[in-house]
Symmetry: C2
Subunit: 117 residues, 2 copies
DNA sequence: GCTTGACTTAGAGTTCACTCCAGATATTAT
DNA sequence: ATAATATCTGGAGTGAACTCTAAGTCAAGC
């Protein structure tokens, strides 16, 4: 799959795909004989996963580390799992904060309601 | 209250407090006769509110607009309420996305569990 | 009365996460 | 074969949200 196809599929620019590869946020993509990237389905699954995690605010450094370990093979599975557990805890905390802010927003709206607006 | 005291109270730098004032994210703070900011309790409540909302990702432009309207007086209450309702909807959507990502993270961790790690 | 330290302003600098550009090479259409 | 289009690389540029600097003012302590 070409970079343009993948870009379209996930709504990411080709520049961003190259950038993600450069910083190690997705694995190095294979090239054809003339040096042009050819994305596999597995590459696509990574891209989709990373997009989702980045969108939820997971830090780039945790994700690059995760990829790095993944590429080192099976013996890094435990460390990878620890990263996920750590990020899960942070995300739960974040969601809880957002829920608190949401409650506050609802309360403020309720005050405007009382003014019959 | 001086800028240093407020900065300490909310864990924000004095620079950030001046910056927030400059871009209209908090109201203009009154000065004493020698031009030095003197924060009232009401100013502090704004700062705390804005901090909380910014932390939840509410956009600066929505918040500056909210402040602007607030300073225009009671007749802007309805428009202010609409801003809050709009941001509440966006925040609910965001929380729901984060919950989806959290589920995905849990699922991935569960897979590592199955490998007895 | 002089130094020290907190404050003021305008504006420059920093970091992050892209986003764009220039120049080169490759593929596709005519 | 030529023109148009897509890709490559390294590196420069961008916008958001601060963060820092310089040069100056002011009150308090010695």
């Amino acid at each position: 799959m070409t970079i343009a196809e993948v870009a379209k599929r996930y709504g990411i620019s080709a520049d961003t795909l190259r950038y993600y590869e450069k910083i190690g946020l997705i694995p190095r993509i294979g090239r054809n004989k003339s040096g042009i990237r050819d994305y596999t389905e597995e590459n696509c699954r990574w891209i989709e996963f990373i997009r989702c995690m980045r969108n939820a605010g997971l830090p780039i450094d945790a994700l690059t580390r995760y990829i790095e370990l993944f590429q080192q093979g099976e013996e890094t599975a435990e460390e990878r799992k620890l990263i996920l557990i750590d990020e899960k805890a942070k995300l739960e905390k974040r969601i809880s904060e957002l829920n608190d802010t949401l409650d506050r927003l609802k309360l403020k709206i309720a005050k405007y309601d009382k003014l019959k607006l």
